[in-house]
Amino acid sequence: MHKKPKLRLAALLTAPILWLVVAYLGALATLLVTAFFTIDSFTGNVIQKFNLGNFQDMFTDAAYKNVVLRTLGIAIAVTIICTILAIPMAFYMAKIAKPKSQKVLVALILTPLWASYLVKIYAWRTMLEPANGVLDWLLGPIGFNSPGFGGIAIIIGLSYLWLPYMILPIYAGLERLPNNLLDASSDLGAHNWHTFRHVILPLIFPSLIAGSMFTFSLSLGDYITATIIGGKLQMLGNVVYQNFSINLPFAATISMIPVTIMAIYLWMVRRTGALASL
């Protein structure tokens, strides 16, 4: 049927492979090499001499260690918050809502994904504004105050941004889960919480991991949210961004941290089947 399969295959593959391997991976590899270079402190030019100075600075300076730990902490907190918010929402959508409202609910969760990233963080700037923000106005009467701009604000903002990315895979996982499993569990005398803990949770675990890849990895590299609602607080992305124009080799070195953490994370979760359910 295919007369010259090899020729056709080559025609199909050449352009995309050139683009992704030569252009994209090539650029990444070049960046990795740059991480081992240094700059001339007078001219600011990159000196192409292999050395480990940047890595030494990165591991010995307490300031960078703090930024790494803070960024990791924020990414973990965001992932936990998204998981806690997403499970009941997804459960209601998948198992309790009637088919008609189910469709509407999915659309309601999908719509904010298309709303601009910047607009959403800007919205939280007006929400969190200390003293005259919307949050103070809304929740002030019941005794809550806006945390202002800073670490808490970053965690709220990032959780807000990535929540739909957690809801959707969990929803999809619960949809696939047959109802008679839950019925069987309750027939055998398990309470709601027991059924959730021992039947539902293990079965939707790959979906949780799939969602966490978004909430965790997207939080790790972010610097825009920190700039807009983080006050003076810095994340890894901010350090990369600031060093980019003054010390590119060092920016390259720092940027290897989120890449390495992501690689370790992907390697750890590859057995759970989460990658296939993305």
Binding site: L20, W114, V119
Partner: protein
């Protein structure tokens, strides 16, 4: 699929207590409020007559909307965003579809690595992709940043969404239709034009829509690949976010973007059920 869930939902109700259902409904309500209150605030704020931020608004006006419509900076930014988005989508459609064909119809060395390679540009932090591309363009290749570099950057992370949509459709289609067409005497090109392409159209549309959406909203990679003359809409918003006298215009642009986000959902819901998630999952 539409018939089954009806009894399924009602049967499950028996096993979940009324209180548990009420609790879950409440949590869903709180979650939806968390998602929508900030967006509603953005829309209301665009009618706030006060020039600086004040909440709650004391008076409402539509004059900022009139001013925004005439703002040349906003118009230029929209123009650049559309040009960059369409170009990146076009490239992503070509490359993503070709790759999906290769993976679904042929067996070759390294086939399993393709899906990882394709997803990499979108899973690595934008700031890493951004400085890697900037370094490669300006330092290694000597190309100055501009529209071309923005399009290259955007196309790189847009390939994956077209690829995912096209691959899912090709796998579901199988090869029997094409084989039938060729048995009936159509050549490869005619089969592609009359059988394969029409069958893939909705998947490619969904993929293209997502690619355009990703490009239209992208800010980080754009920051590092756009030259001084190129200001896409997100870059414009970011540059004007902290300028106090621009606040009302930023509010109007933000509100507009909130409204526009309904369009792709509407389109994809009408299109087909399998692409309503936009193919992100």
């Amino acid at each position: 699929m539409d018939g089954a869930p009806h009894w399924r939902a009602s049967e499950l109700v028996m096993t979940i207590s009324r209180n548990a259902r009420l609790l879950l409904a409440t949590l869903l309500g709180i979650g939806l409020a968390f998602i929508y209150v900030p967006l509603v605030v953005v829309v209301i704020n665009s009618f706030n007559s006060s020039r600086t931020f004040s909440w709650p608004p004391s008076k409402f006006t539509t004059k900022w909307w009139e001013m925004a419509l005439e703002n040349t900076g906003v118009r230029e930014a929209i123009k650049w965003s559309i040009i960059a988005g369409l170009s990146a989508t076009f490239i992503a459609l070509l490359l993503g579809t070709a790759l999906a064909f290769a993976v679904s119809r042929y067996n070759f060395f390294g086939r399993e690595v393709i899906s990882l390679l394709v997803v990499l540009p979108i899973s690595l932090p934008g700031v890493v992709t951004g400085i890697a591309l900037n370094n490669a363009f300006t330092k290694q290749l000597g190309i100055s940043t501009g529209l071309l570099t923005v399009v290259i950057g955007h196309a790189t992370f847009c390939i994956v969404v077209v690829y995912n949509n096209a691959l899912a459709r090709l796998r579901r289609m199988g090869t029997s239709l094409q084989e039938a067409s060729m048995d009936l005497g159509a050549n490869g090109f005619t089969t592609f034009r009359l059988i394969t392409l029409p069958n893939m159209a909705s998947a490619l549309f969904a993929g293209g829509l997502l690619a355009f959406g990703l490009s239209f909203d992208e800010i980080v990679v754009t920051t590092f690949t756009a030259g001084p003359g190129i200001e896409t809409l997100p870059i414009w918003i970011y540059n004007n976010l902290f300028r106090p006298n621009q606040t009302p215009i930023v509010n109007v642009v933000a509100a507009t973007l909130v409204f526009i986000s309904i369009v792709p959902i509407y389109l994809s819901q009408r299109l087909s059920s399998d692409s309503s998630s936009g193919g992100r999952f």
